[in-house]
């Protein structure tokens, strides 16, 4: 594959980092944050982000089984991902694939049942931020492991 050499402006990078940090801090659930970021990166086919967030998830203690089954979480059952996680993953998919049309009421309302308003806003921000990173990395074809800048 042809390499692409577009370096991001440092201001863009630091602003993106602040966005991700604020979202993650506000959500307050590091393991769930990684599941969300991995799932979005799978959908957006971002090799760099997938590699990075799977590694972080392992450090956060997410089991291999939960990582292996994430691409098929809907079929994996409640014993692998609990209801709160499933609500977050359904929201992740809807917010990531906007081009298929909107975020259904059912998906939004299920998430709103499991997360209070501030948590939900931070969760939406986290999904948005990883979608941002996915775009920045895929567009510039950053290989897994980097260098990202």
């Amino acid at each position: 594959m042809t390499a692409r050499t577009t370096r991001l402006a440092p201001e863009v990078r630091t602003a993106m980092q602040s966005l991700s940090a604020a979202a993650k801090r506000g959500l307050g659930d590091p393991a769930l944050a990684e599941l969300v970021q991995i799932r979005a990166s799978q959908l957006n086919r971002c090799a760099f982000c997938l590699d990075m967030h799977v590694a972080i998830a392992r450090k956060e203690g997410v089991s291999e089984r939960r990582l292996d089954l994430l691409a098929v979480w809907q079929e994996a059952g409640d014993e692998v991902y609990d209801e709160r996680e499933r609500a977050a993953l359904a929201l992740t998919e809807a917010v990531t694939v906007l081009t298929d049309g909107f975020v259904p009421d059912e998906v939004y309302e299920t998430a709103a049942k499991h997360f209070d308003e501030a948590e939900l806003a931070h969760l939406i921000a986290l999904i948005t931020a990883i979608n941002g990173w996915n775009r920045l990395m895929v567009a510039r074809r950053i290989p897994p492991g980097g260098p990202a800048w």
């Binding site: 863009v12 630091t14 081009t99 941002g132 895929v138 567009a139």
Partner: protein, 164 residues
């Protein structure tokens, strides 16, 4: 002459007032927006923002950026034709077309990657630092679209220039 009263559907309130709920996130988004638009041609950036917002179906962002584009002197014709730009190429410059093509590829990642042809065409029209800003700008409007759609922000009330 009789005046007919048109009864429109009821306007819905937003799902979530995210900017008020999480000001830290909102501030980071504003910072990101400011960083991404540095060095980009304003009219081009509005076209990019409108096109991404069309693809992502973000009503608030379409409202905002169509009005901002018009206020910046963009023509009604070029805004109307934007959703069919592939069939109305003569309304746009080759440079704008390369940017629009890149916008679509970076917006619709789930259909698969950003093709070499698309990337290379953009790289021919934009030097490296500018291309990085364009990619950042496409990323940022995609982010605003996600907040707008998910929180179902209400379109129609935007006044041009309010978010410059």
């Amino acid at each position: 002459m009789t005046t007919e009263t048109v009864s429109y559907a009821t306007e819905a309130a937003p799902r979530l007032e995210w900017a008020k709920l999480v000001p830290d996130v909102y501030k980071a988004m504003i910072r990101l927006d400011t960083a991404a638009k540095q060095g980009l041609d304003h009219k081009l950036y509005e076209l990019v923002k409108i096109r991404a917002s069309q693809i992502n179906h973000c009503a608030l962002c379409i409202d905002m950026h169509s009005k901002d584009a018009l206020a910046a002197g963009e023509s009604v014709e070029r805004i109307i034709q934007l959703s069919a730009w592939e069939e109305s190429r003569h309304f746009y410059t080759e440079r704008e077309l390369a940017a629009l093509e890149l916008t679509e590829a970076v917006t619709v990642l789930t259909d698969g990657f950003v093709a070499d042809e698309v990337y290379e065409k953009a790289a021919k029209h934009f030097e490296e630092a500018e291309l990085a800003q364009l990619i950042a700008a496409i990323t940022v409007i995609n982010a605003w679209n996600r907040f707008g759609v998910t929180c179902r922000m209400t379109p129609g009330h935007y006044q041009p220039g309010a978010h410059k």
